[in-house]
Amino acid sequence: MSRIKITMDVNGRRHELAVEPWELLVDVLRDTLGLTGTKKGCGEGECGACTVNMDGRAVLSCLTLAVHADGKEIMTIEGLGKRTKLHPLQEAFVNEAAIQCGFCSPGMIMAAHALLKENPDPTEEVVRKKIANNLCRCTGYERPVKAILKAARMIKEGHHE
């Protein structure tokens, strides 16, 4: 036994893949599928740069085996918004200057995306707690938190996703 056949839905597209038992979701997303928006930072669950949504929940793709994603729905930063129209989270991150070097942004936005799906009207404290696994060395978190709260308002006011 070596490679294992899996099927996963990534950003609405079905992929049939053969993966090694030890292969990580982050590596399959980046290297096999070419979705390099998801970043590989620490590789041990501390930095959160690899955060994606699996069946709607924020998970760390560096601590998820690709085989574990078999039959699941994965959403990465590439699945958010359209080429011509940003998702409110992306728009708010840009407008609030919540992005500096940008390395943490895809992970942080995906953590926020899972949060807003579950809780469309979070308090600032909840936002801070839910992105506690997303380290940012540039912004000091103030602007990302503002951006997430702004995106929540935008979504509520009907900016289509």
Binding site: M1, P21, A58, H68, R128, N133
Partner: protein, 308 residues
Amino acid sequence: MATGTIPMKDTIRRSNMNDRFRPGEYYRPQSLGEATDILGKLGKGARVIAGGTDLLVTRPQGVTSLLDVSRLALDYISRDKDSFHIGAATRVREIENAPEFSSEPYRALGEAAGSLATATIRNMATLGGNLCNASPAADLPLPCIALDASVKIAGPGGTRKLSLADFYKGVNETVLEDDELLVEVQIPFAKEKAGTSFQKLRHHQTSVDIAIVNVATRIICINERCEVVKIVLGAVAPTPIRAKNAEALLKGKIMGDELLSKAAEAAAGESRPIDDLRASANYRKKMVKVLVERALRTSIRRCETCQE
């Protein structure tokens, strides 16, 4: 195309050269019987994987196969006539959000679940993983022991049940045999009103880091006297430990400031911490006293029948 494109694949492959975590086989059994059969055949080289948040961080050498228990229908919180049954593959998030464990007499369990690592990790990590990884600093064993939890274990000859307090052998070591699997945790219903508390000290109280010291307590008073008291300490011995001397000081007594302080002091005396990168043994002992006193006071405040 941007100039100076970095050949990412090569970079990653090179950085992984020292990584020996390369299990060649992967099993996803459909039943407990199948799972224990496979574990029995594979022996030492097999590792059980659920959420992956411990195994994929430590990435131990010599693992030849993985047994995925995340789809064995072991994610549930149910109840029968006398206890809660929590499946071993239940995500920590589900325990954190369960209304049953967000109020007394089980509140310490919800608190411990809500303070384990981060929300993102709690979406992945499981109760069984936290128990079986047997880290001395694990959070969930403490309230479970304080709540008199027992564990159901499946093996080739069927299932066995034992007290969670008897589950641990040492650092990262449990009584589980190679062909055994933790199936569920059972928490008996509390017959009397109780007050519980979970306290955790870590570097920056919001960080991902594990506990420097963690404590769970449970108290039941009848006619103002302490009838039941459990004090469980973490990160200060190879396994979670009960502070039995401290418990003995409190049992049968009317709670008061001086007594609580004495009991906390006794608990510190019973702890056997080590120096490590997080804290010195000496500091840990001092913090056991602080956290035990805090946990006891919180438990008493939360227990309607106890009086401070």
